[in-house]
Symmetry: D2
């Protein structure tokens, strides 16, 4: 499935400068063996047996640990960095911007940090979006606000134009905060840079509120988002109990992966049905969702349904369209499900009080919670360490509790999904009591 080269992190060149962090690094007693170039984090942490492991280590791959290096590639006083945020909002964007800025400025002492406005549009000169100089002073409090001070946008721009502008502004390192579409775009930028044989690093900080990135224990903002999601489920439950045959229907994020729906549902235990993209379901039939819902209402008088936005797409007619980020436009499963349920009960002559809640904008626009706040700082620090050491075309991540450098091509090769045969989904089934399949 993987080969060794998949894990290789690209470099711009030899590291010839002493890191300004040496006083901190040297203070460590064991610093002698701190992040040696040959260190690896295992890509897999299970084995059918230790004996088996011993036989198969040829198949075990290692990820490069992230962290500060003693020698760096860029000479700080002559280094300029740029930061851009792309795609939809996610809690923690401002934390990442702030920690990148502080680490680059206060710790590495580089010459300048520029913020580009409105995503990739800001990297194209003719789009005429303002750039702002980012200083520790101007980012001091931004982490207390949701969203991104740089603004965002969807959609790619031509790599040639982007690299023209980077060259014109003499940017040495570009930090790109965005989802898989964005990272694909930044690989094209890195290709164009390579074609021109320039020494500009491109480092990604993967942003996905859906937690669907590979080689990542968890994506930043995910915990904040799931906390917010629980509020919506709680409201749905209260509303469902407040009226005869009350049904609370909540749509949560999750285009391809149902992590937020699963975690938020487990956190409050008020959901009776959880629908995720990874597990197809039927509306009709003796064990279809509608029949199960009717039984639940007959028994308990109320019900809560949590649906991830990417669930049930097989049941709706696709529009065939894509958005500016290249994501296929999903049908709105929440509105569709509301209509299906209402028309079903109407046709059966049964009273129904369905309240539909779509909290997406409120969820994704809150500030990061304390845990995500720390996580964003550590990701950003490691992104800076990687960038200053001349690494490129990679993202920072945390894998099995260690921070790692992951080649972009590896990070986006496939999506992290809820395993329908795994622990998490089994716990959801146990907690909701819903059948393994609606059919």
């Amino acid at each position: 499935m993987y080969c060794k080269d998949d894990f290789h992190v690209e470099r711009l060149g030899e590291c010839r400068f002493d890191s300004p962090l040496l006083p901190l690094l040297d203070y460590r007693q064991h610093s002698v063996n701190y992040v040696e170039e040959s260190d690896r984090i295992l890509a897999e942490n299970t084995a059918s047996s230790v004996a088996h492991l011993r036989e198969t280590t040829s198949e075990l791959f290692g990820l490069e640990p992230a962290g500060a290096r003693r020698k760096i590639f860029f000479n700080p006083p002559h280094t300029r960095a740029g930061i851009v945020t792309c795609g939809g909002l996610c809690p923690g964007l401002n934390n990442v911007i702030r920690s990148l800025t502080n680490e680059l400025t206060c710790r590495y002492g580089i010459a300048q940090v520029l913020g580009f406005s409105n995503g990739y549009q800001g990297l194209v000169e003719r789009c005429n979006r303002p750039t702002v100089e980012l200083t520790p002073h101007c980012v001091a409090d931004i982490h207390e606000h949701g969203g991104t001070i740089l603004g965002s946008s969807r959609g790619d721009q031509r790599p040639e134009e982007i690299v023209d502008y980077l060259e014109k502004l003499e940017i040495d390192i570009l930090f790109v905060i965005g989802g898989d579409g964005t990272i694909r775009g930044s690989m094209a930028i890195a290709d164009e840079i390579a074609k021109r044989d320039r020494k500009i690093g491109v480092i990604g900080i993967p942003k996905t509120i859906d937690n669907d990135i590979m080689f990542a224990d968890q994506s930043f903002g995910f915990q904040t988002a799931l906390s917010q999601g629980t509020e919506a489920i709680r409201a749905a439950h209260v509303e469902a109990c407040g009226a005869p045959n009350g049904v609370g229907l909540v749509k949560l994020m999750g285009r391809h992966s149902g992590f937020i729906a699963c975690y938020a549902s487990l956190a409050v235990n008020d959901a009776n049905f959880v629908l995720i993209p990874e597990v197809p379901f039927s509306l009709e039939g003796a064990h279809g969702l509608l029949a199960c819902l009717k039984r639940r209402l007959d028994d308990a008088g109320h019900a809560v349904i949590v649906v991830a936005e990417g669930a049930g797409q097989h049941l709706m007619q696709s529009s065939g369209k894509t958005d500016a980020s290249g994501n296929s436009r999903l049908g709105d499963v929440g509105v569709w499900l509301k209509q299906q349920i209402e028309s079903h009960f109407t046709s059966q002559g049964k009273e129904l009080n369905l309240k539909y809640i779509d909290p997406s904008y409120v969820i994704r626009s809150v500030p990061a919670n304390p845990y995500d706040s720390v996580f964003c700082s550590r990701l950003a620090h490691n992104a800076v360490h990687a960038a200053m050491s001349g690494r490129t075309r990679m993202v920072v991540s945390r894998w099995h509790t260690k921070f790692v450098n992951v080649p972009m091509s590896l990070a986006i090769r496939q999506r992290n999904c809820v395993d329908p045969n795994g622990d998490l989904w089994m716990t959801v089934l146990e907690s909701t009591g819903q059948p393994p399949r609606f059919e």
Copy 2:
């Protein structure tokens, strides 16, 4: 406008029993003059001058102070009370249920408290809704949950059937928690009781998340609701800033009164346009909303609009329908405004990223905040005091910081609205910078 009789609170009969609260009442040093029958709270607290006041006191009316009386009408060991919650959810319903139950049981020692399910449906025997006995034990923690443990429903039932059931269950006091439609219904119940010459008290605790009740400084749940509303406005602001030409549009509660929209907008200062039912507006024209919005986007790149659900009804085609509570069905001004703005900008060929947020269910289903929690307790205690003293066909309220007993007919005579010429709306205009009129 008012006459003296408007303020008269009806009584079931003479108070012949000593209050079980006498030990508490007697402890007070000044208890001798505590809530004498002749005490009054002034209905008006302004005067163009004291001299003027002296001349005009013939026009000044007084509300009866609420509170415990030394003599009561009902003999506690032989008294049974019922509680019912009607209409839409509102923070604090469970607090009221809990404090009514505790005061009736622990302080007055009445025989039984029954909770009726699902609003007025629960008061009609053939609807077959369960009744639950409410005890201090079973209500101990309910105030930590939003909604109502009794459930609710919209719509009236025939008063004859209701009084039949009250008689059958030997209910002496009925506590009705609901809005103006509900209170109108309870007046019909009181009429039927009077026609049968029964001694059953009917006491209302006015519930209106919109804060639109007369002779009430503030309705319970209002402060909790406005706090929640600020979260939606904050999200709208973050989303608006996150995309080019971003517009955050938030619909908040307020069928006839824009209090929540005004207060929530003032609390976060992120709103640029506040639209309320009390102040009509135009979309078109050089100073219409659309033109003002375009100017704002040209200047600042983003904008936040807060609209109360009852605003702009004059611009939409009415459906002419009413809901089960008899409220006229409003057009959905949020969705309508979203479409109007989007089609306007599309027709002008301007980019627009509008994010629409409708947080109503999440707002109204949260538990009461600490302030509302105290307020609900005090309202409930005063409702019990009034009921035990034989008062009927009245609601409890707080007026100019004092708790008062208000005849139902007076409480629902008209609505409390935001005064377009008053302090509050002026502060909104000052804070948003929006023009006094869009036209």
Copy 3:
């Protein structure tokens, strides 16, 4: 008790300038009679009867309504204002600073707003504290933080030195945000100004987290503080339940008035004993606190005690000292009570697990909640209106739900206290079940 002159608000002179708010004021349909000079808010809102009222209006006094006037005293382009915050922290200080700045700058267009650092120290040149120019930009987000961006300090400074500095900096209006000690200090400043026959207005915004100011429905920050206080009581309850014979003891603010203790206790209903300065108590005796506590532990196994910091001072030996603000140094009733209870149970050989919580700094340093946020804005706007119209030696307040101008001498004449014979304390007794007196 009061005479008419007590309610007279002092003015610097004749109002000769048109208000820049005229466009807003004129928009109002009834603006013709808006805040006429003779308008009054009744100082009292109860009467033993309307008949009685008519006879006694000679004793009824009216407070001047706050609000914008059409004619103002200061010519905005030549007006400079200063703001200072004094004494202990309170939620909402930054909201007040922010709204003063915005109203003075954006609405009245005055020349400059200066912030003085560290309380009255900042008003004395030789203390060498920095002054900062306050602009809408620099105050834009400060309301999201607790505390005060200007810093604070305790203690007065010599009025002569302060007025020297005000004259040197050409300040026309001084806004003073502080408690009764601070307001006393600002009266001395106003005296010195009058002695020099200068036209400098001194306007107070009363700050007291204890809610103990006269002619104020509620002080700003109070609701935020009581919400925070409930968290401490909740924690005390959880801790008390978590150990055998567990006692949770919480000290809350309230030097002279037990409002926070009463409201916070009512909000969560976990307190079994509430001790406030207004109601003396005994430790010893068959009905003393210790005996009651023992009975409670024997019955229920755990107990929660809420004590206001000013309670029980009669039982402790006074240090006789005062702090820099001139407040007498209270004995620490929380620590003292902890020791008394522990030694009592030790001497009786009974197990006791007492957890003592003193949350004061955490309570008073949080940002204002949405309700207080709106309240602070409205207070600040009215303070600016009063100042620009040439009023002085007064504070703004809200009385019976209307904003009013109150002479400083009247505002600090006595303290607002919990009435041991009133509604609030009776509700506390009803909710806790504690005896009316421990003795």
Copy 4:
């Protein structure tokens, strides 16, 4: 350091019964290879190189994966379980109790679940503590409250008495939720059970708010606690800024490990000095804490210090005492540090306004946040799976993102500490700017 046997999980005997979860297990497509007995989670996830790994796998050890087995040891209809909570409070205790109860009752259908009161005292008959039958109904809402419905206590009891009582009550499985002292106690219970050759399983769910347990990515309640801790730091910062030479001093939990202090400090970035048990410090000297603090105050006018309760013990005189849990009684570093700093500045004649905040009880008594809530459920489910399969003398944990079964002896062999040479502490140094050592 470890040998293979350290990872061996003890079993009571052969699994002869089909799991009631078979319908869920069988639904899984890959269930055939689900948690085979030989599966292992690697105990270590780093290697200096993959080549090196291959040579050294003899030194790599594997932990047994947790999870449901197809065959179980206990016959559900004849199985009775007990639950006990010991030691100090921690967010999530009620979540664990609730999920244990639900899983045992609803999924495995065992005969009875008993809750023992007040820790190990409840397991000794002569202590006469009540036992409660735990049902899904009675635990339905307990996760919304902090603390533990079972109460707790410190200290061990004689294993003989405990096993006597377990035998008398016919308990088959004992779930023990507690810290390392508690787990040591439960090993003694397991020893006594083995000595009597009884088939009673003893399963631990490790509780440590300090996050100091081995082979655990994170302990339950830790994230909730760190969130609460940030509030105290925020308050300290606001207070420090509010007075001349203001110092905010916060004591946070962490007897042996400074994780909460580190994470909470990183989350808000307001701390200037973080002191943890793992890194000794000096007060005196040119680079001692006092000198650094003075420099900070001279430069910035205010400072925030966060100290873990176990820090600086080398500087205080030990009392030599231990508490009932056998933990050595630490000196109160917060109070001590407050006094040291104050007397230092007094002796230097410098003004100082130090505000000391000790929020421990408030932190540890809150309900679990949504993330911890999910984590507690999953831990509890896995504890039940392990117990039903006959495992004993082990704890459940999560290691490198997988749930695992860890022998008790291994789990308590040493503590998890902040590595002074690791990533986390380096990020703290980078963020605070404090020197690597105070000396």
